[in-house]
């Protein structure tokens, strides 16, 4: 369907053509789960839409030798159900599963969650922890790569130029185990008040070689939890109790939001978020080791 206010490009070439005439009233639409709210709240009526959901290559999850490529229009439901994602990036599967409601997840896309740059975005801590990269197209047809963490400014802002669009997300495959956890006003179908991705490289005996941890909703964009990373490194995952990390978890939140009234709650709540995520990783670790034993 094409009208002066609505284009639905089926090739990158026609997409570039649309991007060339994109102005501040033109919006890129994929899942529309945030866009429609934005249009309603801002009372925007005279807008134009570039619908990118007809670009088939943006809807695929593809595995290469060292990377996995996720199209910008891949939905949360597709991420949640993908064996490739489950195998290499368990935290991303988790984050996709905990985002919004089933109805939202059926429509909401990974590209949209990135570009929308909400401080509560659920996939961002995961993409930060995996140092995901974006493939970005501009109206001239030029493609550039940029890290997700460099593209996100947070609070709804990103560094994409007016004529740019995210095409793909690249994630490096790794043997690390990871998990996502969040808390909101309710236990599900809720916007994160605090979320976290923990990614651990473990030895066979569960010693933590390195940790990459990002916390969301304690700043404009996810922050790296270096204190907690440091506290975890070198310790055994098995038998790890979150109480033993309590002081550094609290310090981490204090450092992130020293002036916010919500810090008192979040300091305590972060213990729960960390325990949940570490518990999930421990379960993955046990699953992985028993699988190994089974093959022996």
């Amino acid at each position: 369907m094409t009208s002066p206010n609505f284009t639905s490009p089926k090739s990158l070439k026609t997409l570039c053509k649309s991007l060339r005439i994109k102005d501040e009233n033109t919006f890129i639409a994929a899942g529309c789960t945030d866009l429609l709210i934005h249009l309603n709240q801002q009372r925007l009526y005279d807008y134009k839409i570039i619908d990118i959901t007809h670009l088939t290559e943006l809807k695929k999850i593809q595995e290469q030798n060292h990377t996995v490529t996720i199209g910008a229009c891949v939905t949360m439901t597709e991420l949640e159900n993908s064996p490739i994602i489950a195998r290499y990036f368990p935290a991303l599967k988790d984050a996709a599963y905990h985002l919004g409601s089933k109805q939202i997840r059926n429509l909401a896309t990974l590209g949209g969650n990135i570009a929308n740059a909400s401080q509560s975005a659920d996939t961002l801590p995961v993409l930060f922890a995996y140092e995901a990269e974006l493939e970005i197209l501009d109206s001239s047809g030029r493609i550039r790569l940029s890290k997700v963490m460099d593209t996100i400014e947070g609070l709804g802002k990103n560094t994409l130029k007016k004529d740019e669009v995210i095409l793909k997300i690249y994630l490096k495959k790794s043997a690390a185990l990871s998990a996502f956890s969040k808390i909101g006003a309710r236990s599900s179908v809720t916007i994160s008040k605090l979320n976290a991705c923990i990614k651990l490289d473990l030895t066979e005996s569960s010693t933590i070689l390195s940790a990459s941890i990002y916390l969301g909703a304690v700043g404009a964009k996810p922050i790296q939890a270096q204190l907690i990373e440091k506290a975890l490194t070198g310790r055994m995952l098995e038998g790890l109790r979150v109480d033993s990390l309590s002081p550094c978890i609290k310090d981490q939140i204090e450092n992130a939001i020293p002036t916010r009234a919500s810090k008192h709650y979040k300091k305590q709540a972060a213990l729960g978020v960390m325990e949940d995520a570490l518990g999930k990783i421990a379960a993955l670790y046990l699953g992985a080791s028993s699988e190994k034993e089974g093959t022996l």
Partner: protein, 740 residues
């Protein structure tokens, strides 16, 4: 009691299929030739003088009119006043002269399309000159209404008491969250009558307000209760209809006035926030000697229900526990916030929220089991209301507690639940009781009229001004009529309220009066009609009424082969006597007994995140007689949903300056399906003497006891003394921190 054929059966209500298939037409689906759309512009400021420039908005394409205070009749009304006999402050205009809260009606934009209206609203230029705003009960000082209710001399008892246990707590302003935001449609009929379609609770109340504000006679105003997508009291007051009718009256065109969620939260009504202090005097044995309850109620910017909420809240305090001496004082204060209105339970949820937590506090001090403490003090069947209000009736609350204890395995759980505790999770069980009424008897005129006819094909037409809010009122009336008339419910049509078509009803579908009062009226009319029918047969066939039996729409003459359908007799009777078989009844409620409930809950509290999961919930209700068990179960589960939401999540957040923060469902948190526990339902059905077939109310009471049961369970789990609602994760964590 004779065997019941229709009452007590879980019959499917007739609109179920269409509603579940999405076929039902709500007002937003209605279309009229030349219909205009209208939307209110609500104040963005809590308190301000206004200067409004409508020129730019009026110049927009397809905009027909923009009304402000300058355009409307300068006639004040009180949106709560359901008939002219009720004393009330008149302080609302159709469109306000100044902004008295964020959400006040300040302009109406009317256009040919919704899009035109939406585009024009931001073009209405409102200049606000801000004034200081009074926000919250702490700041409030201007009293709208205050009243004491007493029995005995509580002070004397306080001197004798072994213990006086005191608790203070707050309950929040709550949004009703009906799925359908407020809406109505007005038009002129062929005779130039003003016709208003509205999903409302009292058509005669709306007729009264339109008449008084527009200065039109009642008999030119036809208000029709439309299909409703939920109310819970939120559509009880007259908010949209008069201004919509005004637009139609001015423009001589059909007008649909609609709201979105933000409007419905800001610009309608809320459950009144309350602060209560409860002091209870008890002796060592756990007998309550006396109680003093002081309630301060946030009435919001307009008078609306300032008096009603004080009375409704206070009266419940005298009908649950047996104590001779009690003092209550309730005061409603003006603030620059959303006005109060009916909300499922009308004062009972607030009252019990604090008093039932106080009961557990007493139990803790006396080292008594909370159920045991209650059993020593609950009212029994035949109890009197010592304030002089109508008798309490066949109170079966003790039975509710006893059955609940057994079904919930209360004692075992109370003793062993903490064995499940871990470093992170604390478990607890708690319970609470609640009481609610059955109409207005004793306070206001409480009667209804029924026009019931037997038609020539044997079917029955019942005209009565009921308003089905989606809970199955019509099916309830059909079942009661079917029982009285001994004919299948499918042959009975019950109309909904329509000021031109259905006869007068004194008080509307509110106050938990419909099953008890309107149901009683239908039973009474049905009994009269079946008597007329039997007499007609006797006259026609020269037999005695003793020899006549009815069965499923047929009449049998004993010891003969003769039998007739109801329709046969209707036709024969009309032919021979030139009369129609019909009755007109004006039925005044004979009583106003209490309905009771006991609720039991098990919770798991996450001491890290503050999250509370309700793992198990059992509600035991004393309802006299279930008319339709499936509908009763639905009411109790839906009521529990609202009450659990009040316990854990729901609050219209208003900041210190008066700005409302929770204007949509991502910020106003309802209990959603994943966190909603399965609510088990038990009913105690020992018959209420004056209720139709023994039935009494359930729908409002269902929203009372679950909240304090959950808070008691949390306090038991954490050994805290939380008394304010909602108990959000932040509240849990701050209590854990403070008490550590």
């Amino acid at each position: 009691m004779k065997n019941l054929n229709y009452v007590g059966k879980s019959l499917l209500k007739e609109d179920s299929r269409d509603k579940s298939a999405g076929k039902t037409k709500f007002i937003c689906d209605m279309q009229r030739e030349g219909m205009l759309y209208a939307k209110l512009l609500l104040s963005e400021k809590p308190h301000a003088e206004l200067s409004i420039d409508t020129r730019e908005a009026l110049a927009q394409t397809d905009i027909i009119a923009v009304y402000t205070y300058a355009d409307i009749p300068k006639k004040l009304y009180n949106s709560h006043q359901w008939y002219p006999g009720i004393a009330a402050e008149f302080d609302e205009y159709l469109l306000s002269d100044k902004a008295r809260f964020m959400g006040d009606r300040i302009a109406l934009v009317v256009g040919k399309t919704k899009e035109a209206v939406e585009r024009a609203i931001p073009k209405v230029k409102v200049h606000y000159t801000e004034l200081p705003a009074v926000i919250g009960l702490e700041a409030a000082s201007e009293i709208a209404f205050s009243k004491e209710i007493t029995c005995g001399d509580y002070e004397k008892q306080f001197e004798k008491a072994d213990y006086i246990i005191k608790d203070s707590g707050c309950t929040p302003k709550i949004h009703h969250a009906a799925l359908e935001p407020h809406i109505c449609l007005s038009e002129l009929d062929d005779q130039n009558n003003l016709v208003v379609w509205t999903p409302c609770q009292t058509v005669f109340q709306i007729q009264h307000h339109i008449s008084s504000v527009l200065d039109l006679p009642y008999n030119q105003i036809r208000v029709i209760k439309a299909v409703m997508g939920g109310s819970f009291g939120g559509k009880g007051q007259t908010v949209l209809e008069p201004i919509c009718a005004f637009a139609t009256h001015k423009l001589q065109k059909p007008v649909m006035l609609y709201m979105d969620r933000r409007d419905a939260i800001l610009g309608t009504r809320s459950r009144n926030a309350a602060k209560m202090t409860v002091e209870t005097a008890v002796d060592k044995e756990g007998k309550i000697l006396a109680r003093k309850v002081v309630a301060e109620i946030d009435g919001g910017a307009y008078y609306t229900n300032a008096a009603a909420i004080v009375m409704a809240l206070g009266k419940k305090l005298f009908r649950l526990y047996d104590m001779k001496d009690q003092y209550y004082k309730g005061s409603t204060y003006y603030t620059h916030t959303i006005s109060g209105g009916a909300c499922r339970g009308y004062g009972s949820p607030q009252a019990h929220a604090i008093t039932e937590v106080n009961m557990d506090h007493i139990a803790k001090v006396l080292n008594l089991d909370p159920c045991e403490l209650r059993l020593r003090n609950l009212v029994s069947s035949g109890a009197k209301d010592l304030t002089g209000a109508p008798d309490i009736g066949n109170a079966q609350i003790r039975e509710c507690v006893l059955q609940g204890m057994a079904a919930f395995a209360w004692q075992e759980k109370r003793q062993t639940i903490k064995n499940k505790n871990t470093a992170r999770y604390a478990y607890g069980v708690g319970m609470a009781c609640g009481v609610h009424g059955n109409g207005y008897k004793g306070a206001y005129p409480d009667f209804t009229q029924v026009d019931m006819s037997l038609l020539s094909d044997g079917s029955i037409l019942v005209k009565i001004s009921v308003h089905d809010q989606g809970c199955g009122t019509l099916m309830t009336m059909q079942q009661i009529a079917a029982e009285a008339l001994d004919i299948d419910t499918s042959r009975i049509k019950v109309l909904e309220a329509d000021t031109f078509m259905t006869p007068y009803d004194s008080a509307g579908t509110q106050a938990s009066r419909v099953t008890f009062v309107c149901g009683g009226a239908v039973k009474n009319a049905g009994e009269k009609l079946i008597t007329e029918l039997i007499n007609a047969l006797c006259e026609l066939k020269d037999c005695s009424s003793d020899s006549v039996e009815t069965k499923d729409g047929c009449l049998f003459i004993k010891n003969s082969m003769q039998h007739y359908t109801y329709g046969d007799i209707a036709v024969l009777y009309e032919l021979k006597y030139s009369k129609k078989l019909s009755v007109f009844v004006e039925y005044e409620s004979p009583a106003n007994p209490a309905s009771f409930a006991a609720c039991f809950a098990e919770v798991r509290v996450d001491k890290y995140t503050g999250e509370v999961m309700v793992l198990d919930c059992l509600a035991v209700h004393d309802i006299g007689q279930s008319v339709n068990p499936a509908l009763v179960e639905g009411q109790i589960q839906g009521g529990a949903h609202m009450s659990l939401g009040m316990a854990l999540f729901e609050e219209i957040e208003i900041d210190a300056k008066g700005y409302v923060k929770s204007t949509n469902f991502s910020k106003y948190h309802l209990m959603n399906a994943p966190v909603m526990p399965h609510v088990q339902v038990l009913t105690v059905e020992h018959g209420e003497p004056y209720g139709p077939y023994g039935a009494k109310s359930v729908g409002e009471l269902a929203a009372v006891a679950p909240a304090p049961a959950v808070v008691n369970a949390i306090n038991f789990a954490l050994d805290t003394s939380i008394t304010s609602y909602p108990v959000t994760p932040e509240v849990i964590i701050s209590h854990i921190m403070n008490e550590a």
